[in-house]
């Protein structure tokens, strides 16, 4: 029996596909000859078989380093930009890190990490490397507090959904995402760009939304993904005009009907789809019928992804999930049957399942459990509401009440606020149990979004 052939990212990149680029706001890098160039100063050999912490201040060099390291390093741990530095020590021990790729080598001197490699531009010429092993990809969960968990993936698991979908006909796509590629949602898009033979336009946290969209247009972006919060911000900014991607994708938060309809109106010629994925559960499925939720017959075994609902929570078993949490005291990632419990609560209505919220995000209203997302979905359906956040507020009478902050759709006359508030409350009363109806609705200019692109829920 011969060992199974191992593919790494480099095996999807070759000089035969010309015109491919990886770009950010400053630099546009050709991917055509990328295998003969090194962002690691030609020091890739030293990193062979190592457990590498990838800790860079920009996505461009991170992406180039991933291409070089995959198939060579034993492991690589991707650090998102908002990682709390005080968690590094625990992560280094848990992931058995013995090398770091950084752009701040001074900060790593004397930390005890035996090998420090500086990632730098311009690229240096190097001899193309050959794939040696299946590198383990370590990603951090975007939890709220404490040291993030480390989820272990293989490239095969990470790209399972991409390979299953196959390559689309027509010109190679130009992908972009509002996510950072060092998080699961963004990495999916980076991998799509590499595997599809296409190009990728990276986001930049220091850029205004208007400048970002101008860059997306200039680079001819055809496929783009983000969270519903990212997309709502884009719709509110008024920057979406003249941008006409072929494919618009949402993931990472509940895509409610209002945001799907809003995107369809803003991009009438685009196909709009939402995907269900998480760092632990991998890519579950994509929904392309323009409706929120997903058809009930997605449960069971579908294209190798098995799903079931246990105590309201979606559980997933597939070859695309992470294979384990990594670390000294790592919890089990799956139940005894190999299913990952997503913690995403779904509800069957008719022939469709709808996401109602996160199990960990429940707020307590006078002893009753409430998913804030359920309330927000009703508010967001009002044509004058663009985005909202429901939360609990202490009450001396009932212990807690629901209050909601709402951003009005761009161009709404502020004089209509009272009328809109009454209409929203009327809708909430018609569609929600009385304790879920907001006691107070405030109109706000902005709502906080976390670095992972999700609505900030500090009280949850």
């Amino acid at each position: 029996m011969s060992p199974r052939e191992i593919f790494a990212l480099r095996d999807h990149l070759g000089a035969e596909l010309t015109g491919r680029t990886l770009s950010d706001a400053q630099t546009c890098m050709s991917l055509t000859d990328i295998l003969s160039q090194s962002v690691l100063g030609g020091r890739l050999r030293e990193l062979s078989g190592r457990s590498v912490l990838l800790k860079l201040s920009d996505q461009l060099r991170s992406g180039l380093a991933m291409i070089e390291l995959d198939g060579i390093a034993r492991r690589m741990l991707l650090c998102p930009p908002d990682l709390n530095p005080s968690h590094l020590e625990a992560l280094i021990a848990d992931a058995e890190i013995d090398a770091v790729v950084t752009d701040e080598s001074d900060r790593w001197a004397g930390t005890g990490v035996p090998l420090i490699v500086t990632a730098q531009l311009p690229l240096e010429a190097t001899a193309p490397a050959k794939t040696e092993r299946a590198t383990e990809w370590l990603m951090l969960t975007s939890g709220t507090s404490g040291v993030p968990k480390i989820a272990g993936h293989t490239l095969e698991a990470l790209t399972g959904a991409i390979v299953a979908e196959g390559t689309a006909r027509g010109p190679a796509p130009v992908w972009a995402t509002f996510y950072d590629i060092r998080r699961y949602g963004g990495l999916q898009i980076f991998l799509r760009a590499v595997l599809s033979g296409g190009s990728m336009v990276l986001s930049d946290p220091h850029e205004t939304l208007g400048d970002h969209v101008a860059r997306l247009k200039a680079r001819g972006v055809s496929h783009i993904s983000g969270t519903p919060s990212h997309w709502r911000k884009l719709l509110m900014s008024g920057s979406a005009a003249q941008f006409a991607p072929a494919y618009v994708r949402l993931s990472g938060e509940i895509a409610d009907q209002a945001v799907l309809d809003g995107l369809k109106a803003a991009f009438p010629n685009s196909s709009v789809g939402h995907a269900y994925a998480s760092t632990e559960a991998g890519v579950g499925f994509a929904v392309n019928d323009g409706l929120e939720g997903f058809p009930a017959d997605y449960l069971g075994n579908r294209n190798g992804v098995e799903m079931k609902v246990v105590e309201g929570s979606l559980r997933i078993r597939s070859t695309r999930t992470a294979h384990a949490y990594v670390g000294r005291n790592a919890a089990a990632l799956t139940d005894d049957d190999g299913f990952v419990d997503s913690g995403d609560i779904v509800e069957l209505r008719g022939e469709r399942y709808y996401f109602v919220g996160r199990r960990g995000g429940i707020i307590n209203i006078g002893g009753l459990k409430v998913h804030p997302e359920e309330i927000e979905a009703v508010i967001n359906r009002h044509p004058d509401a663009r985005m909202s956040r429901a939360k609990s507020r202490k009450s001396p009478i009932t212990g807690g009440i629901v209050v909601a902050d709402v951003i009005l759709t761009e161009g709404t006359d502020p004089a209509r606020a009272k009328e809109i508030r009454d209409q929203i409350l009327e809708r909430c009363r018609a569609q929600l149990a009385s304790h879920k109806v907001p006691a107070v609705i405030r109109f706000v200019e902005a709502l906080d979004v976390t670095p992972a692109g999700k609505l900030a829920r500090t009280d949850a």
């Binding site: 006078g366 001396p396 009478i397 009932t398 009363r429 009385s434 304790h435």
Partner: protein, 81 residues
């Protein structure tokens, strides 16, 4: 607008939203007789806090919840500025 009329306005607004038919709001009407349930009172207290900046029932730990409409209004009138 006086504190009293703010309170009365808010009661009437919430009664409308909650489909509660209020009796005439005299000072000696017991709060129980308003037809408000605890959720309606919770909404009332939260809205008045937003409008007046005070929640007299949380500020003072030993404050008993008022028994009548008059007591309720006075709880807001008597808050030190």
């Amino acid at each position: 607008m006086s504190v009293r009329s703010k309170v009365i306005d808010a009661i009437q607004q919430i009664a409308k939203e909650q489909h509660v038919t209020l009796p005439a709001l005299s000072d000696d009407l017991s709060l129980h007789e308003t037809g408000f349930d605890s959720l309606a009172f919770a909404i009332l207290v939260a809205r008045l806090e937003d409008e007046t900046g005070v929640d007299p029932f949380t500020i003072s730990e030993d404050a008993a919840f008022p028994a009548t409409v008059g007591d309720f209004v006075r709880a807001y009138e008597n808050v030190p500025a």
